[in-house]
Symmetry: C2
Subunit: 351 residues, 2 copies
């Protein structure tokens, strides 16, 4: 193994960590880093419906960039929502404030009626946002991340009609009407492959797949229903160009399976023992995570200690990206987020 290069640029550090090449220290960013915990974000968002905000190139670019200077994160994920590419398929959807589907999918005819669309034509603003961000970030040497919701998570909302504690309806469909759910996942998987590839085309240097609800499944169901969708997406992306990061919310029981998804980076829920995951899957994939978002409420000294502990725990893995184990919560103190990213920089070897 070559020794870690000294003082890498942010983009190179991030991409090397994803691929498991030596780095000087782990890069750092946060899931949901452009969000309500930032007063500056709340100001830009005020009075604008959520989906409008996703379509507003100027504002989306602005909030995407905010965390760079405000809290010192080292990668930018474009501001958007996992549901943005769904309405063009012919699904009526609004945010109130969570996604609400006008006609939940309950029959095969509804799946068959879903339209196949060219992302560049149906959601052109997404790619304008990415291109604008890439222009901004090139000079600052900050990597740009694209993302998409995973097929099961989109399907869960489309079947349920809205958020749910148990997502019982989509899970019952799995047991009672497996062919219907399979057909829906198939369409959403296709869409997601095209959507992520278009993001790569527009300049995303890495892409993250968010499976928000797949963690509701046990390992057996996950292997049967979820893993193939991730594997198909991993195979469809231009992987020589960009790494794929995979996050499964509440997926602390699934990381061994996630390691075989084809993703380069497995993003770990905060409930995973990072040292154990590093030993068990860290030879195969890089790891991302996994501070409990609530721990950002701790005093800065305690946050620094936790970051050091996380970095040490992840050391056996081929690569590590510091992040939270879940999206940043609205009540998070900004100074805690700042302490978190500062602690990552303090991990660099003395020059």
């Amino acid at each position: 193994m070559t020794p870690p290069p000294v003082a890498l640029g942010r983009t190179e550090r991030f991409l090397r960590a994803c691929r498991g090449d030596p780095v000087d220290r782990p890069p750092v960013w946060l899931m949901r880093q452009a969000g309500r915990y930032l007063p500056e974000y709340r100001r830009v968002r005020a009075g604008i419906p959520f989906l409008d905000m996703c379509r507003d190139v100027e504002r989306a670019v602005e909030v995407s960039l905010q965390p760079l200077d405000l809290v010192g994160t080292e990668a930018v994920i474009f501001f958007s929502d996992i549901f943005v590419p769904v309405p063009p398929m012919g699904v009526k959807l609004e945010f109130a404030p969570g996604p609400v589907v006008a006609e939940p999918i309950r029959e095969l005819a509804q799946v068959e009626a879903l339209r196949t669309v060219e992302p560049l034509e149906s959601v052109p603003f997404v790619f304008e946002i990415l291109q604008a961000l890439r222009r901004e970030l090139r000079d600052r040497d900050v990597p740009l991340l694209g993302f998409a919701g995973a097929p099961f998570t989109l399907a869960a909302y489309l079947v349920e009609g809205q958020g749910s504690k148990d997502f019982g309806r989509v899970k019952r469909m799995m047991y009672r009407e497996p062919e219907l759910l399979r057909a829906l996942l198939e369409r959403l998987t296709e869409m997601t492959c095209a959507y992520l590839n278009a993001q790569i085309e527009a300049g995303a240097q890495a892409v993250q797949l968010f499976d928000t609800w797949a963690g509701l499944l046990g390992p057996e169901e996950y292997r049967e229903w979820i893993q193939p969708t991730h594997q198909r997406i991993a195979a469809a992306l231009d992987r020589a160009r960009v790494p794929l990061l995979l996050y499964v919310n509440g997926g602390s029981h699934l990381y061994e399976i996630m390691a075989d998804s084809g993703a380069d980076v497995v993003s770990l829920d905060w409930r995973v023992d990072l040292a154990r995951a590093a030993r068990e899957i860290g030879g195969k994939v890089s790891l991302q995570g996994n501070l409990d978002p609530c721990a950002l409420a701790a005093p800065p000294s305690a946050i620094r200690e936790r970051v050091r502990a996380l970095a040490a725990a992840a050391a056996p893995a081929r690569g590590h990206i510091l992040n939270l184990g879940h999206g940043c919560l609205p009540e998070t103190p900004v100074e805690g987020v700042r302490a978190f990213t500062d602690a990552a920089r303090a991990l660099a070897p003395e020059a």
Copy 2:
């Protein structure tokens, strides 16, 4: 090892399975088996506020017994709620429909103002329900279970004021005001010990501790904050008389720690690979679980197959109690529950 006795009675089978003594086949019951999925339950409950129902001895006994004949479960847990013993401590609480605390606990003075009460005096109806059930069940040879909410789960609601997706406030308290949270847990642990011992006195033949929100913690925080509360409760109970079952909702990442809680039975979330848990902790504790409640929507033949698979997976453990991996959901088809308990009985060796 003595060979499993043939055709055990229900009480003996259940208690032997808890303690890891040989049995003819696993006993079966369901968490939240007296619940909204039963039309008969909905009829008795109609128009009665939830806490009133918990105080109504006759109705509580009636719904506790319903699942025996309606769906063939083999243990009875008394109908109640984990919050029943809390108002006598001086906490104003209502159900709307989840628990809502009038004055959430945010200061040490509030903890110090909590009253220590004799359960027999403060919630006498609980023990009347248990005694009445024990009389009913003795002739039918069905074991009676008591239960309590675990201290952290009660504290989570008391601090938050109501249910929450992330329970961020109580978790932030853990990081920012650890002494306050520790004092609250201390008081609730004391109360829970007294409450469960009084249930045992009143005839409960086993008791289950429900920690609904401890699964929101990572292993490190769980070890520091939760495990000591469980261990103290386990030590305080008259364990020669009754076994202790421990369920941590969303605790699929915690079962190895739960095995050292002092509980006789670790009740597993449906997301745990039961075969793996049986290998890893099944020598030390008996296991309970862990069918996904949504799987009760599957056709009866598929449910039978799953029950056989669960029993086979649990075989390396010293004992196994068939149950769900979470409470039975309101939308569960009654015929699915019936198929589940029938499948357990079909596991008995041919006479």
